[in-house]
């Protein structure tokens, strides 16, 4: 799945003309689709520059390739919410270890990303 950035907003929901995370018109591979416990739809993509992987609101994108990668499973959150993600990434605490830069989490991330990108290059 791939999505084109069509809108920039900051963490407060205010429109932006520029962002250090995304570029208007740029197409990103969608690594996860999430509905959080506030019923917001979010896409996880690899942001621009050195900021890295993050979640962005669905309304900031237009889906340009809806292909669902084989690597995705449906994961239901214990506190509510839902995700299309890989099995490894759906394990409790995975993203904490990834953002704390644990090497095993980084390897799992690279492997999952490769499978998702290869499914829709």
């Amino acid at each position: 799945m791939k999505a084109k950035c069509i809108k920039l907003i900051d963490s407060r929901g205010n429109p932006q003309e520029q962002s250090a995370w995304l570029t208007l018109g740029k197409v990103y591979h969608v690594l996860e689709v999430i509905q959080d416990t506030h019923n917001r739809w979010l896409l996880r993509v690899i942001g621009d520059g050195t900021n890295g992987v993050a979640l962005f609101r669905l309304e900031q994108f237009e889906i340009v390739s809806p292909k669902v990668p084989d690597a995705w499973i449906v994961a239901w959150g214990a506190q509510g919410g839902f995700a299309l993600t890989t099995e490894a990434w759906s394990q409790a605490g995975f993203w904490e270890t990834y953002y704390d830069k644990e090497p095993s989490a980084a390897r799992s991330f690279e492997e999952g990303t490769r499978r998702i990108v290869d499914a829709d290059p």
């Binding site: 963490s11 407060r12 250090a20 959080d36 917001r40 979010l42 993050a54 995700a83 995975f94 090497p103």
Partner: protein, 141 residues
């Protein structure tokens, strides 16, 4: 004598003492002005390099400080430029109050290297929570 004065002046100049070994060569052929300028340029370059390094450190420190308020909380700019990284409902730490998401700021420069700050915020209300796991993460592993 002008020639002797010129030779002494060059010989005394730091870094060009070897000019004295050129005694058989008429002093008129020794590019006195050129040496003086080159030596001055070298000194200026060294000062510029030192100033450049100091300025770079100062800018990195100012960038790092811009992420925080005087009380150690995040600046409004750092918060508005941040992005969600773990959504509400998917946090592994049960001590984090429900409804909060984990956020990462934009990358800031610092004298110790680029970093981001991780913090919790209610993505709907915008309320920031500093009670747990508020930390700086350097971009380099």
């Amino acid at each position: 004598m002008a020639d002797s004065a010129a030779t002494v002046a060059m010989s005394d100049h730091p870094g060009v003492a070897w000019v004295a070994a050129l005694a058989p060569i008429p002093v008129a052929f020794i590019p006195e002005v050129s040496f003086a300028v080159d030596a001055a340029a070298t000194a200026d370059s060294a000062v510029n390099v030192a100033n450049g390094a100091r300025l770079s450190q100062q800018l990195a420190l100012e960038s790092a400080n811009s992420a925080f308020t005087a009380t150690g909380e995040l600046s409004e700019g750092a918060i508005s430029g941040a992005n969600e990284i773990i959504p509400a409902g998917q946090l592994g730490n049960p001590a984090i109050p429900q409804g909060l998401s984990k956020f990462a700021t934009d990358t800031f420069a610092s004298p110790s290297g680029p970093f981001q700050v991780h913090f919790y915020m209610n993505a709907v209300s915008g309320a920031v929570y500093y009670g747990l796991d508020y930390k700086v993460i350097f971009n380099s592993p």
